[in-house]
Subunit: 201 residues, 2 copies
């Protein structure tokens, strides 16, 4: 009981509430209720709402980045790498479906801090960019620059999570199980979509 357990409960509750309402929309009272504790206790463990938010947000993010770095390091064939990157992103999103919306809020709230954090974690894209350019020069993939490829990939992976409340209604008669099925299909669909779009084979 006590310390560790409570702190963890707070973090879990805060994740839920922050993604439902965003940093500004979230209420400390709601987080406390969700955690089954008192409001004042939040301030015992976390000095301010802002600090709680940062701890939650960057805590989650720091669990995503290392696995991405692993993939970027590998030297397998490019078509396999596409599959690996999509798989990693997608599996992380499915375990943290709130994350995309979370990141997007933060991108607009404090992009400088987020950018610095990524750099601190060793995440930068120069090596991958070179790799892509190399593959294009070698004629292995059709002409495309890294930023375009990156935007395409991230957009396709992330969109169904961001847009879920609307997409599920308009495309699946608000059938939640059908939408989960749709999300499961995404990994294979996106991988194939990208491969067909850029591989000269």
């Amino acid at each position: 009981m006590g310390s560790d357990n409570t702190k963890e409960k707070i973090v879990q509750a805060a994740q839920l509430v922050f993604i439902r309402k965003g940093m500004d929309g979230a209420r400390m009272q709601e987080i406390a209720d969700e955690a089954g504790i008192n409001k004042a206790l939040l301030h015992y463990y976390f000095h301010s709402k802002q600090q709680l938010f940062n701890e939650v947000f960057y805590g989650v993010l720091s669990r995503l980045i290392p696995s991405l770095l692993e993939i970027f390091k590998l030297e397998e064939p490019f078509s396999d790498k596409i599959e690996a990157v999509v798989r990693e992103y997608d599996s992380f999103m499915s375990k943290n479906p709130f994350l995309p919306q979370f990141i997007i809020n933060e991108i607009n709230r404090d992009p400088e801090q987020l950018s610095r954090f990524m750099s601190d974690q060793g995440l930068n894209f120069s090596k991958i960019e070179e790799r892509i350019n190399g593959e294009v020069s070698a004629g292995n993939i059709r002409s495309i620059t890294f930023p375009h490829l990156f935007a395409n990939l991230i957009g396709m992976v992330v969109m169904p999570y961001i847009g879920r409340p609307l997409f599920q209604r308009k495309l699946f008669n608000n059938d939640s199980a059908k939408y989960d099925q749709f999300l499961q299909e995404r990994r294979a669909v996106i991988t194939r979509f990208i491969q067909q779009a850029i591989l000269t084979k």
Copy 2:
């Protein structure tokens, strides 16, 4: 002077502030400052903050939907339609770069209201869905369901706008002009990307 002009100034200012801060993060004071008027005057023209937000948001949205409906109606070849849809989405985004973030906030804030609005405007996807399925059956495009294609397209179009503050930093050394250039290239890149991915040709 007066009435019309002021009301329009408020709407313009509200667009800026709402997208910068979101519905919850926005402050009526900041909107008033941005419009160069007094806070109380906002409440003269718009009963509440919520009403102002709705008026701004659905005002913009109702200018996007008709042009999309036009495209869906046309009976041109499918590959041309891809180009037309991408062009329309993208040109609208470039004129309203705040819109994607705006819509995403609203998707999470009140999806029911948004969904109803779209239906009221006559925007539903059943006909396009049939069209896609028909093209697949006819062997004109590779096997893909409409929701997947839709998510791919929207994701690719919208991502660079949503992610701009971060992408510009990490991929373009925070060079704003370079990013504008990148955005201009998107239309052609996305169209080609989709065509290569799904057209059997």
